[in-house]
């Protein structure tokens, strides 16, 4: 539960600020000049802050829409990502955010208009081509949506941009705003799924697999494009048993023919972030696994990565042969 909200002076009266604040009672409001005074400060402990994170309402000044890393996208050459929030209400131990940011507070950029303006500019630079825009790189796209209302806002933009494709990446079951609105073809809601043991041990505070599947079914039934991201694949000696159970459960519950896309990707983190993660969580078993460094990234030993990606991909192809399926390697 959020008990403290920091607000940049400049956006105190912004309509989104007012709307967000109306969702809270009994919170401490603290004014600041720039969110970086709190978020980027040295000598903060992400692990301690994660016990009681605050919300920071801020204005983003630049870098609204960025080129997606190679191989991040599903298709096409024009792949971008954007983050209306930094950090996530969940606490997944494999997440790179805990190694990237000094603070565990959530930052919400309230100047939503600037995101759509910049997406519009990117579209103008590819007048005859399609482009893909990914939300949920530095946060979970939907987890705080009842507070932010961002999904409604961004969907209203994409509704009139048929050449622009939007992907929400999420583990959240906060789908009420999506179910209330008409589905659009150029939007996919991609759910990250892991075996139940991994969800329980490494994905603290996230909805259970059962609840995520329930949300996915409701979205499918309402006509939304639903995708699955089996990422990150976590190595265990008996990974085949756990992932086999996961695939069976998922494809029993969902209509595989109607799925928008499926991806698999192994656990991988930039070396610097990984170092921070181990420093914060030296007691985490995941980090004691068969990991190695290659080209500045920490990942499972190459042969293990290949083995898992190949085996999981084959299982998916067998169970959902008609679904667009790809591997994410970066």
């Amino acid at each position: 539960m959020i008990s403290t909200i920091y607000i940049e002076n400049e956006i105190c009266d912004h309509p989104v600020t007012r709307k967000v604040l109306s969702r809270f009672t009994n919170v401490n409001i603290i004014e600041c000049d720039r969110y970086t005074e709190i978020f980027n400060r040295k000598a903060q402990n992400f692990r301690l802050q994660k016990k009681n994170p605050s919300l920071i309402l801020a204005k983003k000044h630049s870098g609204f829409v960025l080129e997606a890393p190679d191989d991040y996208g599903i298709e096409g050459d024009n792949n971008y990502y954007f983050s209306h929030m930094l950090n996530c209400i969940y606490d997944c131990r494999y997440c790179f955010l805990q190694g990237m940011y000094r603070s565990a507070h959530y930052v919400l950029f309230v100047n939503y208009d600037n995101f759509t303006e910049e997406i519009g500019n990117k579209l103008k630079s590819h007048p005859d081509e399609e482009a893909w825009f990914y939300s949920g790189y530095d946060c979970d796209s939907l987890a705080l949506d009842p507070v932010t209302g961002f999904a409604d806002f961004i969907l209203s933009f994409f509704r009139s941009q048929p050449k622009a494709h939007l992907e929400f990446r999420t583990k959240s079951t906060q789908i009420r705003s999506l179910l209330k609105s008409d589905p659009i073809d150029n939007c996919a809601i991609a759910f990250s799924l892991s075996p139940e043991n991994i969800t329980q041990v490494l994905e603290s505070k996230t909805p259970s697999l059962f609840n995520r599947l329930d949300a996915m079914k409701k979205l499918q039934q309402a006509g939304w494009n639903v995708g699955i991201r089996f990422e990150p694949l976590i190595y265990m000696d008996d990974y085949k048993t756990h992932y086999s159970q996961l695939f069976s459960t998922v494809f029993d519950q969902l209509d595989a023919d109607q799925l928008h896309s499926i991806s698999v990707g192994s656990f991988r983190v930039p070396k610097g972030y990984f170092k921070n993660m181990v420093k914060l969580y030296p007691d985490e078993k995941l980090f004691a696994g068969p990991l190695e460094e290659s080209d500045g990234m920490i990942a499972y030993r190459l042969e293990l990565q290949e083995e898992m990606l190949t085996w999981c991909s084959q299982q998916i192809t067998d169970q959902a042969p008609s679904c667009h399926h790809y591997q994410c390697r970066n």
């Binding site: 600041c32 000598a43 692990r47 301690l48 009681n52 490494l202 265990m236 030296p282 007691d283 068969p290």
Partner: protein, 271 residues
């Protein structure tokens, strides 16, 4: 350890009694009290005095990592009642215009509010919040030594716009703090627990000291051995009870190779 920094002895006396703190006679520059968990230093009035006492305390304790710090004292406030205790959520130094935001990671036992640190007593109550003379000096110094979450400032209101500042007797000061011992004790416990949880993460792994007794390790080798022992413990806590690992280990290189070999054989599973 938790170090409490307070300006005046009359403010500190309820804490000295409650925690049965003993005067450390070897320390001559400050009045300094201690038990096995808490240090308390009487800094004198003003941010420079508070900063200097904080730095001094850190140094004489051997500059340990993950220390916790708490500044307790009296403050004026625009409208809080006299005797009300509050935890600072924003500290602003009027003369330097610097601002700090203490990170409060627990549910506080009291109100939180902003705090302005001034160089001279101020009875204008212009800021909608608290006014003191120590917090910025204390916070700027203590937060150099540890993570922000372990540095807090707690103030008890001694005057406000309705009852402006007057000379407070030592008994009044003592009473104001005495009445807030429950809040203070809660903060002390929270900070000690957080500090303990953090320190426990970085203790030397099992068997490390024994290895150091047997094999001469360079600093880098020590880090490598600690890393391997940590991994082995996480994968199989029982593996480190087997002292056979240490037999016939004539060098760090051989030991590291043995540990790598054992780690590679461990089962990787998540319950």
């Amino acid at each position: 350890m938790l170090t409490i920094v307070m300006a005046l002895h009359c403010e500190a006396s309820p804490l000295i009694s409650k925690y049965k703190l003993k005067k450390v006679t070897e320390v001559h520059h400050y009045q300094y009290y201690q038990n096995n968990k808490i240090n308390l230093v009487i800094s004198g009035v003003g941010k420079a005095a508070s900063a200097s006492a904080t730095g001094y305390s850190h140094a004489i304790n051997g500059s340990p990592p993950h220390t916790a710090w708490l500044n307790i004292g009296m403050a004026g406030h625009t409208d809080f009642d006299i005797g009300c205790g509050f935890l600072a959520n924003k500290i602003h130094d009027r003369s330097t215009q610097q601002t700090w935001f203490p990170s409060i990671v627990f549910e506080p036992p009291c109100i939180t509010d902003k705090l302005l640190t001034v160089d001279r007593p101020d009875s204008k109550y212009q800021l909608n919040g608290g006014v003191d003379m120590e917090a910025s000096g204390f916070y700027a110094t203590a937060s150099r030594f540890t993570t922000n979450e372990l540095v807090q400032c707690y103030k008890v209101v001694s005057d406000n716009q309705r009852s402006p500042m007057k000379k407070i007797s030592t008994k009044e000061a003592t009473d104001l703090i005495q009445k807030k011992l429950d809040d203070i004790n809660f903060l002390v416990e929270q900070l000690l627990n957080a500090r303990h949880a953090l320190s426990a993460l970085y203790e030397s792994p099992i068997m490390f000291d024994e290895i150091c007794d047997r094999i001469k390790l360079s600093h880098t080798e020590q880090l490598q051995v600690k890393d391997r022992l940590r991994k082995l413990y996480l994968l199989n806590p029982n593996a480190l009870t087997n002292k056979a690992i240490l037999e016939n280990q004539s060098s760090a290189r051989k030991l590291l190779s043995t540990l790598d070999h054992i780690i590679a054989r461990q089962e990787i599973s998540f319950p």
